[in-house]
């Protein structure tokens, strides 16, 4: 494509008052020979937009540099697709945070413009990757309540669904349930699983495989090849995306001997209690007599470092439900609940109220001892936190342990993925297959595979239904995006994908190992085999590659390297240091914008370069920058570790590891390791960001100027 560059400078919002626009225009026209360069006092107004559009039709401008506000605002108004375009942020990052009319302010704006123009120069229009025979079928794994809901959801949205259940019948755990507590959480409700199953069976878009296992899933979104085994025979189906709804298992009560389980006949789990209620009558297991005094022990093995460290969220509601079974059988029966906290999320608090009104006695505290007399009556001793006393509960007929939920993702290879990084889904710290709990619910660490229901997070049935619909919609979004070659979130709609210059590959395996999504398989000779539909376009492979053979159409090692080279570095005598801030587009960049909106001053010696993820930062950029005389480099990205907030899971962690290694390189160049720093920041930390920047700049000013200036 022949590019014809047009540079449009907006002088509104204080930009015109702050900067010397004529000098800025000169950078575009003289240095970069831009054939069209115009200013407008209000570019995002209809007149401004029309001006740009007129140039596109009349002058043939097809490459646009919009010098105005942050690319995060007015993105819908200042959208001139399909032209190649880039936004140079001179409002939030320059005009609003630096003194107007100052020499340094002007230099900053000019450098930002130079970098923007280099970026356009090095970009080419993306060509979407389209695989052959792409499917829009949604594969749902697990035929329980969540799975069936997901299947119905996707089918009703008009997509073919394959529903796979390992057992002979649909229904999952719900088959063992006696009653449900569901909105509006006032009374017990019937389970009505048959209705649900009939709905699945009646839906023409759903193909059900029961008593089936998944032998293998290969390919990627749009082109998943699923091998199913059923009754000893194998079938292969093609699917576009996957909903994982394999559910949960109760925590192994055998490990709860300290609560008397296995030792006393009348100590049972909530699972056994449910079974007993389904059989009709709640009795003492020891002699079959009707129960008069029942105690529920909450958090049996949950929120306990030695067992399940997390809250299973539903056990409180389950115990409240089972307390109602007891009260319905005998309103005079005494029901005690020994709890740490009653957690009844959302409106299910109403059911807690109901049980209180029915006369349930709630005791906050922890059990200390349990004993049994000759008649198999139980006595429980506890520390009552609210009375601040030791208490006893005597003559108990039944003690019910509210055991928690364990996600099946922990030990089951339900998916058998044919991925370079193993057949299972990577799990977060408690064994749930999440990727970013805050920003992307349902999203696992494998693109196109969405978790729903209790395998994703402990939740009660009403939430499972909601979750299943949510995951089904994500699955639909995935097949639709993949069909046009666009990325799923976080870079929704991104048409670029990594391209490999294979002749220079040294088979070092870094890209295949470090891809957070397992997108790159490898052959026997360790050559990378990319699966572009699995890719989320974070660029972690690009950051990893020592040979720099991986690049995107509008994002490459060469591009950012050239942007850095485009920065003007004053002589050491000028006492104007230059520091490059490589900022993550997901959290750090919006935080910087917010600091700008709040007009918090920042240092004029910074040059900001947005990156897709810290994981995409190639070490060569840092070497380039320092060799050019840049005094320091700061990397601003998301939090890493167990509670990571990185939008691409491992990017910030990888960047950190790589930066630890760079101090060696710096030593070789006889430079101080302090010149490179990595900082974690979240989107709401805008007030901390200027402090971090100032702190780093102070350190840089303490150091001697970079000796490589002027070479």
């Amino acid at each position: 494509m022949d590019k014809k560059l047009g540079v449009y400078i907006c002088t509104g919002c204080g930009i015109g008052e702050s900067l010397d626009i004529e000098a800025l225009k000169k950078v575009a026209t003289k240095e970069f020979k831009a054939p069209v360069c115009k200013t407008h006092p209000w570019l995002c107004g209809s007149e401004g937009v029309e001006m740009v559009k007129a140039d596109m039709t009349n002058e043939g401008v097809n490459t646009l540099s919009i010098v105005a506000c942050s690319p995060r605002v007015k993105f819908d108004v200042l959208d001139f697709s399909p032209a190649l375009q880039d936004r140079v942020n001179v409002r939030e990052q320059v005009a609003w945070v630096l003194p107007a009319g100052d020499e340094d302010t002007q230099m900053m704006a000019e450098d930002q413009l130079r970098m923007g123009l280099v970026k356009l120069n090095k970009s080419t229009p993306p060509e979407p990757y389209l695989a052959e025979n792409m499917s829009k079928t949604v594969l749902v794994v697990g035929g329980g309540f969540s799975g069936m809901n997901a299947a119905i959801g996707a089918a009703q949205a008009g997509y073919p669904v394959i529903l796979v259940e390992k057992e002979a019948q649909l229904g999952g755990f719900m088959k063992t349930m006696n009653k449900r507590v569901r909105p509006p959480y006032k009374e017990l409700a019937d389970v009505d699983l048959e209705g649900q199953i009939k709905k699945v069976e009646a839906e023409p878009n759903i193909k059900v495989f029961t008593a089936a296992q998944i032998e293998k899933i290969s390919g990627g979104p749009g082109v998943f090849d699923v091998t199913l085994s059923q009754n000893g025979s194998s079938v292969t189906e093609r699917a576009g995306s996957v909903v994982l709804a394999t559910g949960w298992k109760p925590y192994d009560a055998g490990k709860l001997e300290h609560l008397g389980y296995g030792k006393f006949t009348n100590v049972i789990t909530n699972i056994q209690m449910e079974e007993m209620a389904r059989q009709g009558k709640i009795t003492r297991p020891s002699d079959g007599k009707e129960v008069k005094n029942v105690l529920f022990i909450q958090c049996a093995g949950s929120r306990d470092e030695n067992h399940l460290p997390y809250c299973s969220s539903v056990c409180c509601l389950v115990s409240l439900k089972q307390a109602t079974y007891v009260k319905d059988q005998d309103p005079e029966a005494a029901v005690y609940v020994l709890y740490k906290d009653i957690r009844t999320p959302h409106q299910s608090e109403d059911f807690y109220r109901k049980v209180q009104r029915d006369g349930g006695i709630f005791i906050r505290g922890e059990m200390t001892a349990i004993s049994e007399d000759g008649n198999k009556n139980l006595v429980v001793e506890a520390d009552d936190a609210l009375l601040n006393e030791k208490i006893r509960l005597e003559d108990l007929d039944l003690v019910v342990l509210a055991v928690g939920l364990v996600p099946t993702a922990l030990d089951e290879m339900a998916l058998n993925l044919d991925y370079r990084q193993g057949p299972g889904l990577p799990l977060t710290k408690y064994g749930f297959p999440d990727s970013n709990f805050i920003c992307f619910p349902y999203e696992t660490q494998r693109t196109g595979i969405y978790a729903a229901g209790c395998v994703r997070s402990p939740m009660e049935t009403a939430l499972c239904a909601e979750d299943a619909t949510g995951a089904a919609l994500k699955a639909v979004q995935c097949v639709e995006s993949t069909a046009i070659g666009a990325s799923t979130f976080p870079r929704s709609g991104d048409m670029t994908y990594p391209e490999f210059q294979m002749q220079r590959c040294t088979q070092c395996k870094r890209c295949t190992e470090e891809c957070p999504f397992g997108a790159i398989n490898e052959d026997e000779k360790a050559n990378p085999l990319p699966n572009p539909t699995r890719c989320r376009r974070c660029g972690t492979c690009m950051g990893a590659c020592p040979e720099r053979i991986i690049s995107f159409k509008n994002y490459s090692v060469d591009m950012i390297g050239s942007m850095i080279k485009g920065i003007e570095v004053p002589d050491a005598d000028d006492e104007k240091p230059r520091v490059i801030a490589l900022i993550c587009e997901n959290d750090a960049y919006p935080a910087l914008d917010m600091a700008g909106i709040n007009r918090i001053p920042i240092d004029p010696f910074y040059r900001f370069i947005p990156v897709r993820c810290l994981g995409s930062i190639n070490l060569v950029w840092i070497a380039d920058a320092l060799a050019k005389g840049i005094d320091g480099v700061i990397l601003l990205g998301c939090r890493k570790g167990d509670d990571y907030q990185c939008h691409f899971i491992k990017g910030s962690e990888l960047a950190n590891t790589r930066m630890e290694k760079i101090s060696e390189t710096l030593g070789r160049l006889a430079l101080e390791p302090d010149r490179v720093r990595v900082e974690e920041i979240s989107i709401n930390d805008y007030d901390k960001l200027p402090v971090i920047l100032k702190d780093f700049m102070d350190r840089i000013k303490e150091l001697e100027p970079n000796p490589y200036k002027g070479f």
């Binding site: 001997e257 300290h258 008397g260 006369g359 200390t368 001892a369 208490i391 006893r392």
Partner: protein, 203 residues
Amino acid sequence: MEQVVGPKSSGGKAYDQSFAREVYQKVDSGEEIKMCMQCGVCAGSCPLKEKMDYSPRKIFTLIRAGQREKVLSSQAIMLCTSCYSCKVRCPRKVPVVDVMHGLAHYALRQGYKPREETALFGQKFWDNIYRLGRIDEKDVAQRYFLGHGLGPGIKLMLENMNMGLGMMRKKRMKLLPERPIKNVKSLRKMLDKAKALGKGGAV
């Protein structure tokens, strides 16, 4: 044969629901405490919390634990001044003020005298209303003082004489006795009926 898991101690009071049931049935608004979820907003709102032996929250949990003696002889149930902060703030809409008064009344009926002073004053106040249909402040005060016995009563009167005179000078209290309201007999009938219907009354 007894089997034990965990360190068994001989101490610890046994939970007993009989007192809770007694409260639900016999105390005015007693059943409402079922809804208490022990958040402690009542205790945090109470201006007299510092003077109380048990906060309203703790009174409720003691009732559920069956500790009859502690609750009915508690000073706290007599200390409520009906400021209504707790009742207004309770997220579970427990009428804490009503429950506290109900408990105080029930304690007195059961022969407990957690705070004799308060009980005596309350009784004289109530008598006054029953007799006049309104309050005659000097009459209530006189009867309350004399309720301590003749000798101590006169002593208390003398001690408080200056305040009384001061109030009269500022026209906060009349010299002449208050007259009963119109048709005080029908008011008394209403009060008698309410007493017969209800579980208790105000203290």
